[in-house]
Symmetry: C2
Subunit: 145 residues, 2 copies
DNA sequence: ATAAATGCAAAATCTTTGCTGTTCG
DNA sequence: CGAACAGCAAAGATTTTGCATTTAT
């Protein structure tokens, strides 16, 4: 099942009406390989259908976050960006020079977090681990390790 | 050396002028036991000296962040809050019911992060680990474990 | 048919900034 | 004295919302 079809099914499950604007936005979201912010989503959506308004992007993204289709991040202060909620959780390493984002998993860190929460008498609802880092060989082509 | 005196010294080191408004704000900052946002800082400062303006809070907080006296956090979207940069780094567990914040340290997690960054060819500039959690016995007095 | 969704513009929030007058050093 | 700082109000930036109209089911 394609990512797009899967998202559309989840929208249907939640009784969201499939308008033409939403169809376009969902397509943009499903195709995104990065973590676009609202402005990017709007631009990409408009490229396909210039009539889609900014307000609709905001409203729809908010809905999608509400039903768990999208996940919001705040890599830079005062501006949210989004990704389709991944099947398996991952955290993010943000390249402070290029702004690009690397996704990584570390079950060991997850385990330690749960342990910490438990120690204080809590259960984890959510967590966010963002690593801001600079390439070891700055401003050069990076060689593969 | 008191926390306040220490902060004032660091301001002097950076050639910041010690105005009456700053003196009051620094006192508020040094006394804070929580992670106040701009509005709280303004309110507390005004309580001591009602003439201090919001713009001054913003400008001074920004300066203080710049010289490393303050650290900014974004526990809730679209609103920054601050704490005096701690001597030893720690992360945060946010109680999603009360909004209160628990500070914790986990060197093991730090180590794993550094390892991850290195694996991808990066060195860590900064990182943020916020755990959002609910108390195990919700809405009750928590007993010590 | 009707409840939901859209577009537009206005409003709401949070933060920054231009300007003028004041103050620290 | 001169550069830095303060207050105020206006401007920016991002996000939300009221309202009239359109659309999916």
């Amino acid at each position: 099942m394609s990512k797009l079809a899967e998202i559309e099914r989840r929208c249907a499950d939640h009784k969201l009406r499939m308008t033409k604007q939403r169809r376009v936005l969902l397509r943009v979201i499903a195709q995104a390989k990065d973590h676009p912010d609202i402005e990017k989503l709007h631009r990409r959506t408009r490229f396909i259908d210039p009539t889609v308004s900014l307000a609709t992007i905001y409203r729809t993204v908010r809905l999608l976050e509400g039903i768990g289709v999208l996940q919001r991040h705040e890599f830079t202060a005062g501006r949210s960006c989004y990704e389709v909620t991944p099947k398996r959780h991952h955290d993010h390493l943000i390249d402070v020079e290029s702004g690009s984002v690397i996704e990584f998993r570390c079950p060991e860190i997850e385990r330690l977090q749960a342990e910490i929460a438990r120690r204080y008498g809590y259960r984890i609802i959510d967590h966010r681990l963002d690593i801001y880092a600079a390439p070891l060989q700055s401003s050069r082509k990076r060689q593969s390790s």
